[in-house]
Subunit: 333 residues, 2 copies
């Protein structure tokens, strides 16, 4: 849903790229997950390109994510969802790549339009640890500076790889989960509450202290300054030009619904479920070594149950004020 805010930039990107003659027109969707949030952007991009391509010209879309992503669901969505671009455009072709976007995914100069929505806050493998918290914005000062350096290297690498993959004149649109000038993501109250629930489980003997210390959500929320810094670097800035940079807040739909209907139980369940959807694999996954699958499932139930209870007690702390940054970049010829 958040990605929809980028549709206008994407349409402008599709209007700005060089219309390929005989060559192929390739749209890359970096960090596609199961594809649900890619359908509207891909339709937008294809529609905008169609206005500039000869009738019947093929358009290729490649959805990328980590090798362990659920590509079966992705292809099933593309095949069956009524909103799939494959159902609206007989000359559209869909592919996937199971490779981290911190590696080169495409041959040089083969991507016409790149798109990435709510994905680049996920860091590359093995970010620096967070001992007394699970969320980078709330780590201690030294840990935060190490994570910031890791995130800066990741972002520079991401941009350099995309500069290699884009055709000259190609465009890259990023919808990024961002931080304010004080490096706050807007989800600190919720993650503080989640961290409190984990610490209580350590105090109650449900979780071992060393297990808790290994837990972390490997994300980082960059400031506008951090997002744009590498483009002022001579090497990368010589390859990529920043055409647009917009920041915007994101209303919390769960909070808005709760304000309208006052149903605290439903609100608390949804907040806990939202947190669970993005944090369970990274928080509970590392426990696997000494624990049975059943134990881990039980711990997960109890943890997200505690989060639900805490949100019920302090509903305001479940409210997230996420920030987005929207970037449109051109590959310099």
């Amino acid at each position: 849903v958040a990605g929809e805010l980028g549709l206008e930039l994407l349409a402008r990107a599709a209007a700005a790229v060089p219309a390929p003659g005989d060559g192929l027109c390739v749209i890359a969707d970096y960090g596609a997950s199961e594809g649900h949030n890619s359908l509207a952007p891909m339709r937008t991009a294809i529609r905008a390109l169609r206005a500039r391509l000869p009738a019947g010209a093929p358009v290729t879309v490649v959805h990328t994510d980590l090798p362990g992503n659920d590509f079966r669901s992705l292809f099933t969505v593309l095949d069956q969802d009524p909103e799939s671009y494959l159902r609206h455009d007989q000359e559209a072709f869909a592919f996937a790549a199971g490779r981290s976007f911190y590696q080169q995914i495409f041959p040089p100069a083969t991507v016409t339009i790149g798109w990435s929505s709510i994905a680049v806050h996920w860091l590359s493998a093995d970010p620096p640890p967070i001992r007394d918290h699970v969320f980078a914005p709330l780590a201690d000062r030294e840990e935060r500076s190490r994570i910031a350096a890791h995130a800066a290297a990741d972002w520079s690498r991401f941009l350099a790889l995309r500069a290699t993959e884009l055709v000259p004149g190609g465009q890259l649109v990023i919808v990024g989960s961002a931080a304010d000038a004080e490096s706050r993501s807007g989800a600190e109250p919720l993650l503080e509450l989640a961290n409190g629930a984990l610490r209580a489980m350590v105090d109650d003997g449900e979780l071992r202290a060393d297990e808790y210390e290994r837990m972390a959500i490997p994300t980082y929320y960059r400031t506008r300054e951090e997002f744009t810094a590498p483009l002022r670097d001579a090497s990368l800035g010589g390859k990529l030009a920043l055409d647009e940079c917009v920041e915007t807040g994101l209303e919390d739909p769960l909070w808005a619904a709760y304000q309208a209907n006052g149903e605290i139980e439903s609100y608390a369940s949804q907040v806990s479920g939202f947190l669970r959807a993005f944090s369970e694999p990274c928080l509970l996954g590392p426990l696997a070594a000494g624990r049975s699958a059943g134990e881990i499932a039980g711990l997960a139930e109890r943890f997200y149950g505690r989060v639900r209870e805490a949100v019920t007690a302090q509903p305001e702390n479940g409210r997230c004020a996420w920030r987005l940054i929207l970037l449109r970049l051109t590959r310099r010829p």
Copy 2:
């Protein structure tokens, strides 16, 4: 393993295709499953192409299968298997397509080399039913002729689609599971035995008669005549030329091991497991409507257990004499 017999044809295909200048070199692997059997062929094709391409030229491989295929396993194999071509060639790029090869998967004239190993005997959706058996070569005469017509249409469509996708001068290598002149696949004794086990389950009240009648393995084993007939048709023959056509038998490795070690229990388990690997989804899947998952799992256990017992009693009937056909085709300019 069977696919290895096609490696020589694949190397000759890679030597015969037009070496792309600035364009991309794309290898399509039609019906890749989880990719284990694709690693050796893709390495062979890439190595043969490398000899003809400028240093550092990118080579793209696209593995295709149905949307419900386990692409997560495929990408994990490509990422981690020591035999993966991605580990041996920094300029190789891997993608997947989740679409039936009875549909167009690639834009026109974009595939340099096509490869398909032990896949084209799987028919497209909803083949004609088989009432008193589960295996097309053992269906009654009328059913067989309807399935043969369905299979002929599938094969013509497969070839026509590949002719569209191949670049002029591009090559297609097929390793197909084939039939002898009497339309026998070589697995009739095993499938007769499996069918007997299912009918005994109906007699014993474990399986309903209507469930058994809906069961079928949607494969068809084409004769050499059936494989080559569409190429003599003016329309398709004008697009694809048959450069090589070789038939060969395939030794049954399970039988060979049993002959060497005499371990009947191990042999019977392996034969039953081999049958299970390709038949369970299509035989037991259609039961899902009125049965619980637990019931279906129990039925599967008992069915393949009966197969194991029958093979123990009649080891010779577990022996398969599969036949392969190897085709190498050129897309006429």
